[in-house]
Symmetry: none
Subunit: 227 residues, 2 copies
């Protein structure tokens, strides 16, 4: 999970980043519109949190430029302006949500999660795959009613798979979403984590892991028996 925060107030920006990191989300800070646009061109984010008042250009213009480049990354506007017409304007140029400052921390987190969820076509915070269920709120995974004893990193990896349920996730994508490009360990670690996750699941189910390997492409979380 990878979020870009475009906000010139360093304190607000850092607070958001810390808040998100606590949720296991990799967040990146940027303080000007131009820096933001640059990064958006280079990397794929799951969400962009955008302030409307930036020193070099207006947030609306940043939003416009992102959408004009046919980039569909979800964007949450965070602004001190609480005027309906401003909100409507933002939505009409492609914003996904609009929050006013001062913001409630837990509401911000909740909205962030809701947007990401929806952008992946998922409705609620419990993802089910066969006998497995993954609770995105409590960050715990179960087989039927028994908890799978995963470590933090192992859980994150399983969550990334669950968020793309049925789709393939590449090792490179795991790596960048888990570490955010900074101090990335060797890619082999993904194999190791996956092996351990599978072992733990297998211990409970007695065989089925729901994690399938797409040779040379990545991994998929799916209940194949259904189809």
């Amino acid at each position: 999970m990878h979020i870009l925060v475009i906000e010139d107030d360093r304190i607000v920006n850092q607070n958001i980043v810390i808040l998100l990191r606590r949720e296991g989300i990799v967040a990146e800070s940027v303080y000007t519109g131009h820096e933001g646009l640059e990064l958006v061109k280079l990397y794929e984010y799951d969400l962009i949190i955008l302030d409307l008042m930036l020193p070099d250009m207006s947030g609306s213009d940043v939003l416009k430029q992102i959408r004009q480049s046919s980039n569909t990354t979800p964007i949450l506007i965070l602004s001190g302006i609480n005027i309906p017409t401003k909100k409507v304007e933002c939505f009409s140029i492609g914003a996904d949500d609009y929050m006013t400052k001062p913001y409630d921390r837990s509401e911000l987190v909740a909205r962030v999660k809701a947007i990401i969820r929806r952008s992946r076509g998922i409705a609620d915070n419990i993802i089910k795959v066969g006998r497995m269920s993954i609770n995105l709120n409590t960050k715990k995974a179960f087989i039927d009613e028994t908890l799978i004893p995963l470590t933090a990193k192992e859980y994150s990896l399983l969550e990334l798979l669950a968020l793309k349920k049925g789709g393939t996730v590449t090792k490179e994508s795991f790596l960048s979403q888990l570490y955010g490009g900074m101090d990335e360990p060797e890619i082999k670690i993904i194999d190791v984590f996956l092996c351990k996750i599978r072992q733990k699941i297998k211990k409970i189910t007695g065989g089925e892991t729901y994690i399938h390997t797409s040779w040379g492409r990545g991994y998929t979380l799916e209940d194949k028996k259904k189809s």
Copy 2:
């Protein structure tokens, strides 16, 4: 576009319906939770607008029941309660947005449109040739509904053909696009890959492969029966 409004206050409900109709959206009114749940089971809506205080049951319970039936229709909560914890609770059980009453009409419309836009998501990029369909997003190819079990390289080759559907691709072009000029194997490998791809397709269709040889020129992906 089809929206269900679950709100017991008849005036508020009718106002929303009128507002949405003006935007060319078909909106349906319902005044109790049970009526709402009934309709949600029967019809597919693009969005549900849900009040939290209903006469027969709480809006949260309506939301919960909808999600428990694994219905993923986007839901916007419209409530008089402006408490962050209530909002967080709703998001965690699967709400997509939360607006407080009194609401601004144009903001409601803007949010409704934003949610629907997002839930529609990115349209799948699919190329079809006869009974074959190639999904460029998931990088999987099918004959009708059955997956063609291609390896990564085999798929890439088929994709290159699909991208030039109807046109001819030379072996040299395959080679350079597959290996990018570096460490290119012998050109014979293209024949081998094509042979394998055709075999796998033939196994499913029972004959037709849609891959045609242009002697001395290259290969074409096309449904010749059509023309």
